[in-house]
Each structure stands twice: as C-alpha cells, then as structure tokens.
C-alpha cells in the first residue's frame, strides 16, 4: 500500500470575508487499504481528501505520497493518486464514453488505434463496453459515476480518492459502486456519508470543524459520530 502523510498541515481558503481556516493543524499517516473519512457537511473531510491529490494546497505543513511532496512533485503524485468527484458530470469531459476513457490514456498510448483498443478494454472491465459510442449526456447517474471511476482507473493508479461517490445515486447504484470500490486492488480513501460503506473499511477518521476528532476502527469511529451528531 502507498504511504499517505499529512505533516502538521493547515488549510485556509480565501473568501470575500478574508481567509477562513478549513483545516486545523493535522498530522496523519494512512497506510491501510481502505480508509473512510466521515463527518458532517463542511467539516473539512473533502479538504483532507483533496490535499492527497494536490487539488487543495496546504497553507502550512506538507503532504507526501510515498515520499513525494504533493507541492513540488504534483504531476508524479497525480499519476499515483486518482480522484473521483461526487458529481461525475463535471469529471466527464469528452463527448462519448470511449473518448473520455481514451483521454486518460493519451499519455500512455500515442497511437490512436492502440488508445481506442485500450479504452475499450477498460470499458469491458467495468461492464461499459456496450455504451462505448454513447454520448456521456445520455447515461444514467450510476453509469456516469461508473464511467468516471473507469476513466480515472484507466491509468492504473496506486490510490483512489473518492469524494462522496455514492451521494447522488439510488440504493441499487450505491450498492453497485460500493461493491466495485471495495473490490479494487487499489488503496481507497473514501469520503462518505454512507456509514455502511465506512464500516467496510479498515480504518475510519471522523472530521469535525476542520479537525480529526476520532481515528481508529470504523465501528468505534461510527459510534462516536452517531453519539455526537
């Protein structure tokens, strides 16, 4: 597994009222295969997740992925750490299903035909092959999220950070995406409101008002969250 480290990290984000602290001084080392980040809306759990891919920059402190500093080795870190958003619509940037996966593979395959073949292989792997030439607009919510995940996993990263990937989905698709995520060989950092998914992880962290207030076995952390909610 990769070693994800936050060393004395704080994050302040600019707003119209000046800089607002969104994450207080946080030091963490994450080495488990499945890690859940839970907490209320606006608690700072997505900020922790975004730090791991460089989408948010630490105001102070440092973030490392397998020893690579996210601030200075951003490109190398993003090759290792894939990120999946809550709303897949923003993540799908090409018109058709196969083209979106092929976009991820542009750096890996210069040849167009090989790229398309590789993209079709990825779609086959995730059960999306029959939708290859469909418009991403015409997909259902579950299919879009599946495609978004397939798109970021096409480059075979070591870690997948998923920010509430099931929040917009119905029960059936939540189960399907959950099963997919927990069947992946990659290390998974899962930001979620779905406590059933959190309980399937090896470690959970509860984030409250920009601080990690509980960290440990998911059953204990979920109990703490329920008692404080």
């Amino acid at each position: 597994m990769s070693r994800l480290e936050l060393r004395d990290v704080t994050v302040r984000l600019p707003t119209s009222d000046g800089d607002v602290p969104v994450l207080g001084s946080t030091t963490l080392t994450l080495t488990e295969q499945r890690i859940a980040l839970i907490g209320a809306n606006g608690s700072g759990k997505s900020t922790v997740a975004r730090l791991l891919n460089g989408l948010v920059t630490a105001t102070t402190g440092q973030v490392f992925v397998d020893g690579l500093d996210v601030a200075t080795d951003g490109a190398a870190v993003r090759r290792k750490v894939a990120f999946c958003f809550t709303d897949p619509s923003a993540q799908l940037v090409m018109p058709t299903v196969v083209e979106d996966v092929a976009l991820s593979l542009r750096r890996h395959h210069q040849d167009k035909q090989r790229r398309r073949t590789a993209a079709l292989g990825v779609l086959e792997q995730y059960g999306l092959a029959t939708l290859a030439d469909r418009s991403v607009h015409s997909l259902s919510g579950g299919q879009r999220q599946l495609l978004a995940i397939a798109g970021v996993l096409a480059t075979e990263p070591d870690v997948l950070v998923a920010d509430e990937p099931t929040t917009l989905l119905d029960l059936r698709n939540t189960r399907a995406i959950g099963d997919l995520l927990f069947g992946l060989p990659q290390q998974l950092v899962l930001v979620t409101h779905d406590l059933d998914l959190a309980l399937r992880c090896e470690r959970a962290l509860l984030v409250e008002e920009g601080r990690v207030v509980a960290d440990g076995a998911p059953t204990d952390v979920v109990d703490t969250y329920r008692s404080r909610a």
Partner: protein, 200 residues
Amino acid sequence: MSLLGLYRPGTTWLHRLPASAKLLGVLVASIVVVAARGPISGVAALLVAIGLAAWSGAGLRLLFRSVRMLVVRAAVLTAYTTWQRGWERAVEVSTDLLALVLLATVMTVTTPIDEVLDTMTRALGPLRRFGLDPERIALAFALMIRAVPTTLDLARQTGDAARARGLERDPRARLVPLAIRSVAHARATGEALDARGIAD
C-alpha cells in the same frame, strides 16, 4: 439535444475522410461563405451543407431537430434584417449562419474528438518553439466543442427552474443562474482535468 460535438460512428465517405481535411474544409467554407456576397451564395452554401448533412448518415431528421432552435432564431434574425437592411441581406445572413452551423455539426458528427485532438496537436506542433503546448491548445478546442451541448443542457435546466418558480418571462431568472452555473461547470471541469493529471 445538440449534435454539435457529438460523434456518431458510421462508414460514410465523410467518416473516412481525415480529420485534417474536414477541419480545413470547414475553415475554407467559413471564409468563402462570409466573403461571398448576395443571397444566392448563401442559399447555395446552405444546400451544400444540407447535402453533406444527408450524406453524414446521422439522419437528416435528427440533424434538423438539433438545429431547430437555431432555425427559430434565424427566422427572427431574417425578419429583423429584412426590416433594417432588405430581404436580400436577410436571406444572406440567415442562410450563411445555418450553413456554417450545419457544416460544423457534420464535421463533429463524423469525426471522433480524439482524432480532432491528434490533428490539432500535429498542426500546432510548430508553436512549441514559441513555448506553447499544442496538446493543451488542442484540448482547449475539444473542450470548447464539448461545452456546446453542456451549455445547452444547463440552459434547459435553468429554464425549467425559472418556469417552476413562475419566472419564465424574467430574463434575470434564466440568464444569471445560467452564467453562474456555466462558470461553475468550467471550474469543475478544470479541477477534474487537474485531478486526472491531464493538465500536467
């Protein structure tokens, strides 16, 4: 639904034509259509565009459905231009507009965006010596094409939201949320490209 930016697989002659030839064709056609004066050239350009649209295999009915809102706007434009500048100028402007949109749609319907990206990256290669990244410019172009159906979708959603609140006649209720959501979508797209390492 707009077909602009949406590739439809097929085996027609237009599908087999290299993307470079189609991009060049649209560029030359745009210059010729704008430069040529008079209603006859506009009507001729529109007929050629309709012929190519029929040839593209995307289905004429579907293509026309995708540009029907534009046809309505072109009709308004025709009426206004007739009043201001006479019927000949009105026919020229509206047929030029429709012909160019149809030609662009035919190009994107018959060309995978991946091919457009490769072609543009090759064509813009010489810009590397000036410190520009052709891959990024080509990606920006592809995203611009992709933005057309997305923006139309957002316009439909904000229109529905305005109607649901009984504000369908209030332009602010339609345009302000559309502008905000378009900018938000653009930011989210940029963030997604960053997250996928495509902008690195």
